[in-house]
Symmetry: C2
Subunit: 885 residues, 2 copies
């Protein structure tokens, strides 16, 4: 058998490189690559993924030749390290890790210190000069091996450690001395025998083969299988095994260990940045027991501690050379782990460093200037979703926090203020200069003014697309929704979290980016959009194909969005305009009128109001298209629902209470989402849409006459059948054309439709005969495609994601298999009829990167999202376009 | 130009025949065909549909040669009738009618007596010997022509007739004399001139060309266009024009007119059956002013009046020959109109005669025996939907009726009884021997026992697929739903219709086939399924490919359906079983338990009950498959909703009222249809499905052990994602296999899913990896595809069908373009994964003929419908199969 199963690396030799990820796994290929470019990495070898696959195909037997190849590679490693595997003087120890093509939870992680036994431990004592260290390593090895390789439940061995401490009367592991640990090793081995029936393997080779088998076996655990299924990773990929020499930073004062970033991960400044400890293990640096020392003078600042640059100048110099080499090689900011064993520098790991979004942008811009990467690469480097952090206030990371409860991160940003339970009160208090947080079980359209006045919104019910969440995102206002731990009592003006009681006026703080709710005031940091941001976004705009519009219902929102780069309004909801005090009266009068004449009187009062709304929006969006959706929600949403409010209304409008109740009762719906709303209202009450269309076109004519450029697009919601659209379009066109011709100016306008019902997507070819544009309303389309109410799904959707039944919340990221299939059908069929049909998306998904990538692939013309997500959408659209290549 | 535009017919010549429908239109081809087989039809000619199309293509100009061909054909007609067009002695008059390939509303109907003017009317007086008749014909012609050809609104001419009567001080048209009518003709012509600016055309040729143009123009009216669009009739078909000589049955005692059926339309008996009047017009026979005479002695029975057979034996003999010829030619029972003008018999029309379903079956069977038609044709002849009338009681057609109001014909049949407003009372009264009608605003699952006990159900709210309608159809019980005119007051135990008040105990009668509600008792007729019916149905079974199953939840329903020919149960809903007194207690206990242990205690009480249900059903369906759907509705449906009932429940179960209310409140959903139901319950409360699966399989094992053949199919509802199904199927299989293996018998079972959400259809290929069968739940699929709640749609759906926005109610007949497209996708994708996948449909549509035809075309394996629709489905399935050829 001539197959090559094992690839060695170390010193100045390597058989693999970064291109061999499929065969060596991600980790193995990367280790080989580092050696290749001359970075000092502890030597070792990788057993290929193909060996793993063969192992399974061959009834879990190792292929002929594997053992020989492993022995040869091992001996090469011994030579490289000048140590011996199983030696009692210079023992070579190994780490063993799995390494698939992509990192996979559920796979075996790591066994460290493999090779220790009662003989080799002596060599470790000699080398380190510290028996405690050696026995601690030994007992850790037994526990780790027992757990990971022998399958013993972790707690069953851990308990012996606890007993040892109990016996000695101490509390910390570090208080156990060498002899205690030596005894613990003995006890652990006895327990392993009791639990497994076998002696703990003393022979290092047995240990090694046991670990290799454990890696292979971990490929087929339930957890790994589930992960592969959910992430479409084929079973036949297999995993590689990485066996690598251990090095120790804690074998004396010539040893050290540290972590470093090649640039500042917080600001992105091009400064080498890191920390280290003399005579320490890697975990000590981050554990916070000893204060780590700065790696160099530039990073020392006020620190009293000596830097590596000063303490070990030659090694520091070597490290600088290595980091420059690595950054140049990987063309990205690196996060390094290094160990110095007996004055020799080893790199244990290099990987792209995590960074704040601010740093990500700075580094990307700098690296383009340095010629390390091109603009395209710069665009790809910044996570679109993270831009959010730049646009909203954030909590001061250094402040003390008192976490109360956690809800859904419904709308990002941070806010603190006094608790209020009532929208009107929020408005009043805010007008008086108070900062308030509006706390509700759920919000309704009547609460909008209060939401607008509040710093943030907290609800105990509803999901990521509940009313509160959607409206808050539109406003760019912090919101934590569906925080079930909070029990609101409107009567007492209190809420409870467990036994804790909060009253009106108490201060709380929300983090809408994490869903966290804190008691008390926490300082927030206000964001600044700097020139780096603007430069970076302008690069994104060079590459994207998708246009980005915004969902905005007010001139203010439109202006904010335009400043964020919105290229028009994709969804202007007209119903939010109906809730102002004077208007809601007229709206209710219209709803409660029992004949056409009565409705028309009420609508006549609304006409000038609507018109002035549109004038403001058209002005704010001068020169850009504005898509206005005609009235969508069912009429009962505009009527009060509780007895007190109904009584009040009856008095105001002078209608007998019984009659009012009867009318409200008649408007009640079992499933309002599937009820008398959208174009269905337009068909049964054509006068409502007639008023809205008139307001839009009169406003457009007025702004155009004053020299503005207006591009109005009238959108009919909830169309299921082309005849609905035709009926409403014909009537609307008549009104529009009459107004335009009377105005004496030229004005182009379009009439199109939402595609938000499966039937509309399925019959898009016919609908496109009438529709001049399509806009996918993916919120409702998701609800109907799944048969799932977003208002009700919150109660069980988390269980669905927990049980891995849904990979994602389909209200957050477009469900590509179902909803996406309908969108594809809709686009394809629509363009069969009308090849240049303009198609966009205006659901919540329009601001979510994965969904935006889907929209790009599906050849949509634009996405539309809430103002604060416009930059995210611009970047995500550019990334999607770059992914085509 | 050599094109032939005009086809003549009459006497012994004809240029067309029945095969030329595309060119001559339906009516023209049929007139030609009758002449061809030697039936005496008034002569005339047909202008082709191609002429109409050319007319439009050529800017509404007649083609060269048309005028000459019309003149030639006209002259041929004159010769044949021995009369002259425009003659003042023997004037030939014409009828002019449109005639497209298919009959089309919106097209010009008829102009009669064309050719009359001040000269030709003299000839008509001479011929008939009656000036009044002649002038009445004349003024009718002017009105008809003015309206239909000149486009004058009908009322504007009619008013002159009213004035004439007013002037003379009479009330009836017949009271006007010849001179009055003569003056009316003058007045009408003056008015025509005033209204149109032109003289009424006196020249018969001008009249003729005007009428021809009017027919052509009527092809492009708005109404005709809409009709074509809705019925997919291409615009380029065009219409033909039929010009036919008028004959008169009212020109003296040698004249007569009559109508006849070639067989008895009520019983189907092979007897010539008809009525006639001497010296009368066709409309007099049906108008009821004079009592018509029987056409023959066999039909004379007790009549004092002489039959045609006696009065004009030679003409009767000729008529008999004609009818036999026609019936033999058309191979169907014919409905004839004839006129005898001056002792000459003319057939004016023959068409397939309308008949009762009983007659339809009898005639079909007889005609097969007579060799006139084959079995296939017999099957096609009977309208499947009409079978309903054979299966349910009907109202005595001769009884006096007092119509109160009209609702939806929700479940066919007739019933009368005392009004009750409460389900429990219905049960009690019924147990005491009362016949009751349950009257409710709407029904809920708690009302089932009362519905079952009642003779019929009347609701004031809800549509054709409301709870009341669906359950009543399942029970085969008469139901009128959504009868909005009825205002129920539960507090007073009354309902009002307008000002009429009805109390508990008052008697009303319902006709569920028409939706009519009557006051008082009306006799009903109980149906009998005779051997004709059984023979006929057995023929249908020979041809159909689709299996027919039933939706049945009880052994009784299963037995009824099996007697009607059901081949298994396609949908057994388990939730209806939960409402019996003892069970609902346990169900509520389960719902209100706040932990798993509590729920399991309650479920343990339900297990034996469910098991005994299934044992009964399996026994009733011995040897046939039984598909059982696991719990589907949201839990709140099992809890009381009004305060009184909640208080009662709190007391019974010993839970504090506030706690109970809180729990009910927590279960409240905004859109229950899209909420926590179906498999979503199974996933959050696996113990519920576990109990049901256990009950099913334990029952199956028990029945199988006792020698029965059980084919259980477990159906998981509301699956949107394959992972839901996999989760539940894995758990269910474990339970099933354990029970079966413990029982020691062999039992095959399947686990499949409803496809009732768009996403399930779209991802059917993946779902079929787990599903062993599919059953399309078209009720929910229609709701989600349209985004339309069937419970709420009633409020505006009628407006949609009125405005022709929806051609059909999609809850009644499958929406082929939308829902149908998803079904096709589902079937195709499902069978890609699993080629032999069994696919059925179990929504309400499973019993509707057009939907059944769709299911056949889409290669479903079976349809499932309520027991009383099983025969309809069998017949419709056979007709669909025959339509393949």
């Amino acid at each position: 058998m001539n197959d090559k199963f094992v690839y060695s690396f170390g010193g100045d030799y390597t058989e693999g490189d970064a291109s061999m990820k499929n065969l060596l796994g991600g980790k193995g290929a990367n280790l080989a690559e580092m050696i290749k470019i001359g970075v000092p990495v502890p030597p070792g070898f990788t057993i290929t993924t193909a060996t793993c696959v063969g192992f399974y195909e061959n009834q879990s037997k190792y292929p002929d030749g594997l053992e020989d190849q492993v022995r040869a590679a091992l001996s090469k490693t011994e030579t490289s390290m000048n140590k011996g595997f199983g030696s009692d003087s210079q023992p070579l120890l190994f780490s063993v890790r799995s390494g698939a093509r992509v990192s996979m939870p559920g796979m075996m992680d790591t066994v460290l210190n493999l090779g220790l036994n009662d003989e080799t431990v002596k060599g470790l004592i000699a080398g380190s000069g510290c028996a405690r260290f050696a026995y601690d390593s030994y007992r850790r090895f037994i526990q780790m091996y027992g757990n990971v390789v022998l399958g013993i439940e972790g707690g069953k061995l851990e308990v012996l450690l606890e007993k040892a401490k109990e016996k000695k009367g101490v509390e910390l592991d570090t208080e156990l001395e060498a002899d205690d640990l030596k005894q613990l090793v003995i006890d652990l081995k006895i327990r392993v025998k009791e639990l497994t029936g076998n002696d703990f393997p003393d022979d290092p080779y047995d240990q090694l083969w046991g670990a290799i088998s454990a890696v292979f076996d971990s490929w087929n655990t339930k957890r790994a299988e589930t992960y592969r299924r959910l992430n479409s990773i084929p079973d036949h990929w297999g995993t590689a095994v990485n066996v690598q020499a251990m090095v120790f930073g804690n074998m004396g004062d010539e040893c050290a260990t540290g972590v470093a970033f090649t640039r500042d991960p917080s600001t992105g400044d091009n400064l080498f940045y890191g920390e280290f400890l003399i005579n320490a293990q890697g975990e000590d640096v981050v554990a916070g027991i000893r204060t780590p020392q700065p790696i160099n003078e530039v990073g020392r600042q006020d620190s009293e501690l000596a830097s590596l640059e000063t303490v070990m100048p030659d090694l520091y110099k070597e490290l600088v050379e290595v980091y420059k080499k690595l950054e140049k090689h990987y063309c990205d900011m690196q996060d390094l782990e290094f160990t110095i064993e007996s004055h020799k520098l080893w790199l244990l790991q290099t990987r792209s460093g995590k960074r704040t979004v601010k740093a990500a942008i700075k580094i990307a811009l700098d690296m383009v200037a340095e010629g390390l990467i091109d603009k395209q690469e710069a665009i790809i480097r910044v996570e679109a979703d993270k831009l959010d952090n730049l646009l909203h206030p954030t909590l001061d990371p250094d402040a003390d926090k008192n976490l109360l409860a956690k809800g859904l991160p419904a709308s990002p940003g941070a806010a603190c203020g006094e608790i209020v339970f009532n929208a009107d009160e929020a408005e009043t208090l805010s007008a008086d200069g108070h900062k308030v947080i509006l706390v509700r079980a759920e919000t309704s359209p009547e609460d909008i003014n209060g939401m607008n006045a509040a710093q943030g919104i907290l609800t105990s019910r509803g999901g990521m697309t509940s009313h509160a969440a959607v409206v808050a995102r539109g406003m760019g206002k912090c919101c934590v929704a569906g925080c079930g731990a909070i029990v609101v009592d409107y009567n007492k003006n209190t809420f409870k979290v467990g036994e804790l009681l909060f009253n009106k006026g108490d201060i709380i703080t929300l983090d809408g980016s994490t869903g966290e709710v804190f008691s008390g005031k926490i300082a927030t940091i206000t964001p600044q959009l700097d020139s780096d941001f603007r430069t970076f976004m302008s690069w994104a705009d060079e590459f994207r194909k998708l246009k980005v519009r915004t969902n905005a219902d007010t001139p203010h929102d439109a202006e904010v969005a335009r400043d964020f780069g919105a290229e028009g309004i994709g969804l202007c909801r007209t119903e939010h305009m109906f809730f102002e005090e004077e208007r809601i009266k007229a709206v209710r009068e219209m709803i409660l009128a029992d004949n056409l004449a009565g409705r028309e009187v009420a609508l006549a009062k609304l006409l000038p109001e609507q018109k002035s709304d549109f004038i403001g929006i058209f002005k704010a969006m001068d020169g850009l298209p504005v898509t206005i959706r005609l009235l969508d929600p069912p009429l009962h949403e505009f009527l009060p629902q509780n007895d007190k409010d109904i009584e009040e209304l009856a008095e105001i409008i002078g209608v007998p209470l019984a009659a009012l109740k009867e009318r409200i009762d008649a408007l009640h719906e079992f499933n309002p989402m599937l009820g008398h709303r959208g174009c269905r209202l337009g068909i049964t009450y054509p006068e409502i849409y007639a008023m809205q269309v008139r307001a839009i076109i009169e406003a457009a004519c007025e702004v155009a006459k004053a020299g503005g450029t207006v591009i109005p697009e009238i959108m009919i919601p909830l169309v299921a059948d082309v005849n609905e659209l035709k009926f409403l379009k014909d009537r609307s066109k008549t009104i529009c054309d009459k107004i335009i011709s009377a105005s004496g100016i030229e004005l182009d306008y379009m009439i199109g439709t939402m595609i938000e019902l499966p039937r509309a997507a399925l019959t898009a070819d016919v609908i496109a005969q009438e529709a001049e544009f399509f806009s996918f309303g993916t919120n409702d389309l998701t609800q109907t495609t799944y048969g799932l109410s977003r208002d009700d799904a919150g109660k069980f959707l988390s269980e669905y994601t927990d049980k891995k039944i849904f990979a994602n919340d389909p209200f957050v990221s477009i469900d590509i298999d179902g909803v996406g299939a309908l969108i594809e059908i809709g686009v394809t069929r629509g363009r069969t009829t009308r090849p240049n049909l303009k198609v966009g998306i205006c659901g919540e998904h329009g601001g979510e990167p994965k969904s935006i990538a889907f929209c790009h692939r599906t050849a949509l013309d634009y996405v539309s999202c809430s103002p604060f997500r416009v930059p995210i959408a611009r970047l995500a659209a550019a990334q999607a376009a770059l992914a085509d290549n």
